[in-house]
Subunit: 132 residues, 6 copies
């Protein structure tokens, strides 16, 4: 095991996803610990720690990709929390999903919005802002 990459990735994961990310890694310990290790080492240790984009940009890209892929509601929930954790506002998350409509159609955007609604309610967030 590559201790340095792992430790760096673990700190980055905690910074972004907090408990949500750590719970995913913990839930893999008894079935696929290496999958958890690769998420920590590669996704968070290698990719999220790169220069060139800040964490708000990286989470905006991540939630866009998860919305577009479809069927990733569990990961969307973790990363909508992650987006809020790194400072993207609730209304900007909603706006990110609205920007996807022309490219993905309405159903995937609806699916993502309903995950966001659940997360925002759990965190006691009211939505406001650029809605016209």
């Amino acid at each position: 095991m590559d201790t340095e990459r792992y430790e760096q990735g673990k700190r980055k994961l905690a910074e972004i996803d907090g408990n949500g990310g750590e719970n995913v890694i913990a839930s893999l310990q008894d079935i696929a610990p290496d999958l958890g290790r690769y998420i920590v080492e590669f996704a968070f240790g290698d990719i999220y720690r790169r220069d060139g984009l800040n964490l708000r940009e990286r989470e905006m890209i991540t939630i866009t990709s998860l919305l577009t892929a479809g069927g990733c509601e569990a990961q969307l929930e973790v990363h909508i929390n992650g987006a809020l954790n790194v400072g993207i506002s609730a209304s900007k998350i909603v706006e990110t999903f609205i920007q996807c409509i022309p490219y993905t159609g309405f159903p995937k955007v609806l699916n993502a919005i309903f995950v966001a609604k659940k997360v925002f309610m759990e965190r006691g967030l009211a939505i406001s802002g650029p809605q016209s």
Copy 2:
């Protein structure tokens, strides 16, 4: 036809995608002019003109969604040009695609990078920056 939305959308399309976007609309005139009209009115007149995200953020979301969807190389080419037009650097476009690796896997990222390579070469851009 909704003249005001159309004219506003047309200006926004020209601002972002330049000739590339206009060529798409023109190529639809003899087969599906209403499809071109909806792209102008809805995608560019309604969505891209919204507050809450700037054009660089909107294009970052767009190229992420197109990469993730797959099979949209023609639209990626238009919007990689669009991303450059609104001020995203070539190296930041590459970095956007690299951020997608953990969520989409390598093949879709490779497809998008080779479209970007073609666009960058056509525009005489050298890549540099956050690559380590």
Copy 3:
């Protein structure tokens, strides 16, 4: 807001999806009211109101696209109800899904059929007809 398109779309949405569609729009009011507005104005006001296909054909296309996309069970439930509302029989809905087998494979067809089964049971419909 474009009142006329909105009102026309709202009537079309009510005609097709009934309570199911209105519930979706209502559930968006506190998080993304503009997403609901675009569904009404663009999807139902612009697209569903077009000539060239009748509502039965449009719903047949819609449930085919939702089945093929995958991961859109909530929207399939609304539009299987919509298909019944505009006069497509239960057995013709099943037949539409069977036609998709060669193009999508069995798993997506199974997912759609189990949504249809739930809808048909809620509406007290027995299936019969072209099954051999």
Copy 4:
């Protein structure tokens, strides 16, 4: 081999896709003849020959599913020809693709429209009709 299903399927394939379908089957003879046989026996012998939907409805479902799946331009070309062969007008094919916009977004619709444009030009068809 199941001669009756094969012969029935072959006639149905010829009725719908004409040369385009037969060329696909022929091109499989030296690499995967059984794949060709299953297309004939199962897709055309079993599915397309069913009651409950007419061939125009079946081809409308097929081109919708191929558009939504993405990356199936070769098959779309065969089945846009097939749709024309069984009596769907060019403008109704375009209208079918326009109905998909709210569910798939614009890029997949654009890809399908450009395949249709190629087919219509090869067949010398002018488009007209429900475009506003």
Copy 5:
């Protein structure tokens, strides 16, 4: 109905998927019995009975395809059971999913692993082996 193919397919289905597969077929009887028949005749009677790959290889391919498609958790559950039934070990199933990471990204692999975790727990299986 093609009695021989059906009976052969039914035996193959029972051999692989056991109760899980038979429950799926039974659940289709009142809504789409022909869909069940095609699964038995075509998928299991025609495809799974072919030479050239053994059943362990066929189930490895099947669970890989279901993971990659996304949104097929119900079918993954049936076929993870099927994979175990034909002699693939729990740790080899996990390893199959790990091999998919570079091609599908982490989210789809996580979805599949959590289905496997449920199946392994229901069958009282402990995981061990090639995890480092």
Copy 6:
């Protein structure tokens, strides 16, 4: 840079994909060298070097995942070559694709078969075997 993982990955990539893989990495040098590095380090250094599955099994999984994803013809070409390089016969590659029909439908299988046909012809391979 992690020299040991890189060198190990490079040897594994050469073993499997030969020139095809090296050409992909080389073509990334001027635009996204880190993408090439991650493919070498993570996909080949970390994943392909694992125990628990042999290289023939790993390539069977890879070509199945690429077929199912769709739109990955360039990567399929590299990995069909890779599958042949590690000892999977041409007819077994074809059989792998045939096993996918019930799960992905015919169009994606056709796309993959035509890539295989190109590869087999370039390598002067005749197909034979389990086709009936």
